[in-house]
Amino acid sequence: MIFLSLKHLTAKKKQTLLILIGVILGTTAYVAISGMMLGFQNYIIDRLINNEAHIRVSARQEIITKENIEKIFYGKNVHTFWSIPPSGRRDSLSIENPKMWFDKFDSSNEIYAYSPQLTSQVIFKRGSIEITGKVIGSKPNQEIRVSNISDYMGENQKFTDLGDTGNRIIIGSGLLSRLGARVSESIMLSTGAGRTAPFKIIGTFTLGIAAIDNAQAFASLIDIQKLQGVSNRISDIGVKLSDVNQAQELSSEWKQFSRDKIESWEEANSATLSVFTIQNITRNFMTISIVVVAAFGIYNILSILVTQKRKEIAILRALGFESFQILEIFLYQGLILGIIGGIIGIVLGYGVCLYMSTLSVGSGRMMGSTGKMLVAFDTMIYVKAFTIAFISSLVSSIIPAYSATKLTPIGIIRSDGD
């Protein structure tokens, strides 16, 4: 019956074209918006996964609350009334038992690499210029296996040049500018305790995040321990997993037996990820709205067509055509519109995505190394777009098509006679 469906569609070209445009626009919009949003999201997630540790073990941070105190001292069955509720924070400056963690990581197949770190708040000084910031002490050979900091360094600079000791430092490019310094120059680092030491700048990095680029630096772990006057102290261990999908599970497992603060990359970036969820909901809502409008177009036009074609339905039934064949005539029309509109829509959407990927939207690494808009070309975007077009067309044509099968030839002939 596809023959008749095509005849109906080609007989009313304007009507067909209008519905087709609706389906095409919906599909194109879905592909383009998804490509743009997912491109950005994938880039950010990729950065979160690859640039940072998958799990970070940090020194204990515990907030004191009245509930904690009550639980420890009085149990559940005693009602306690406080004139001044307890408050405070029990922090630790270092990880309690780093060796336990190192042994665990060394013996586990799930761990790809780990890097012990000591983070210190410092004042960067050059002449009279003083800037407060943070320096991370790490073992360079281990650090580069956990983070991608090497990728963000200046030309011909190596992170491993920090060495195990030697008071060398790699600083954010923004910080370098703010200090008015240049590479190979020395600057002074001071801790809150008043210890000061000179560090030679051997390189810079640019992550594209101003908060880090303007106030952060890297040095060797031993040098920072010396600066703080604490040997063997570490405040963090960055852990890279063989399978990033295990981050949440392993993080929960480790929390069971340690008082140290343990955070997976998902927990650490939950705010960013929840923004993505909201973005996705908005994207789906917008594009589905467009497709629903197109689907209503199909529904309305097919419903009108069923009424207009009552006489034809009557004669087809009289000629021996069965209910399902009548259903096919109208169902195929919706499906043809859905399939053609879907295909043209995803091709157009692909074209729009290609075009968007050539647009310059600013410089810096936030938009990728080329400074062009980041656009995702995942196959699933196209599969979903086509499926939405196909299913919405199918659903919107089923009701009028089914109503056509309920018409009996004698009912139509009698009503025409009336």
Binding site: K7, K311, I315, L319, G320, E322, P409, I410, I413, D416
Partner: protein, 218 residues
């Protein structure tokens, strides 16, 4: 004996209006039968029940001994497609299709339209529409459209041809041509033709005239 109606009754609505009040009728193969009666007498209802387009409230309709009321929907659709041809007062042509495509429609049910194209062309010629195979219905006169409908009804070489006031919308010249076609089909193809008409002259052209009055055969 080809078609036999046994005590066929039909009522409509609530409270029921009895349109047919017990019709007993036999139509032999190859007969040319006209059904006449006043408006509302039940003649069209009788034709539709006899031709399987409508259901009787009670009674039996036998086609070569097989009871229509006991057949499945699939068997009835097959019967309509293979053994019955219909011509209505309104031609009911599919406006998006050409004359040839319209005539070939019954064959599309079983995807036989390509193999039956020659037959369709000869039927178009038989109804004096040769050369107009590729015209659209809107490019034909009312009489020509009705002749296309007749050609379509004959494509599957039906054993029975039912016509409900086929000349009702036509002028005398075209009406005469249609009636002449029915007579020709009946005599040459031996098709059983049963038609409802208001026109006494056309009714008299049949081998047998059945008059319906108040739901009964007079």
């Amino acid at each position: 004996m080809s078609i036999k109606l046994i005590d066929v009754k039909k009522s409509f609505g609530e409270p029921p209006t009895n349109v047919l009040k017990g019709i007993n009728l036999s139509i032999e193969d190859g007969e040319l039968v006209s059904i006449i009666g006043r408006s509302g007498s039940g003649k069209s209802t009788l034709l539709y029940i006899m031709s399987s387009l409508d259901n009787a409230s009670s009674g039996s309709i036998l086609y070569d001994g097989d009871d229509l009321t006991q057949m499945s929907q699939k068997e009835i659709h097959e019967l309509r497609n293979q053994k019955i041809g219909f011509v209505f007062q309104f031609h009911y042509l599919l406006q998006e299709l050409t004359v040839l495509e319209n005539v070939l429609m019954p064959a599309r049910k079983h995807q036989m339209h390509k193999s039956m194209e020659d037959l369709a062309l000869s039927l178009i010629k038989d109804v004096d529409l040769a050369g107009k195979e590729h015209r659209m219905p809107s490019q034909l006169s009312g009489g020509e459209q009705q002749r296309v409908a007749i050609a379509r009804s004959l494509l599957m070489s039906p054993k029975y041809l039912f016509a409900d006031e086929p000349t009702g919308n036509l002028d005398t010249i075209n009406g005469d041509r249609i009636m002449a076609l029915f007579q020709k089909i009946n005599s040459e193809k031996k098709t059983t033709v049963i038609y409802v008409t208001h026109d006494k002259e056309y009714a008299n052209r049949a081998h047998r005239k059945i008059e319906i009055m108040d739901g009964l055969i007079k």
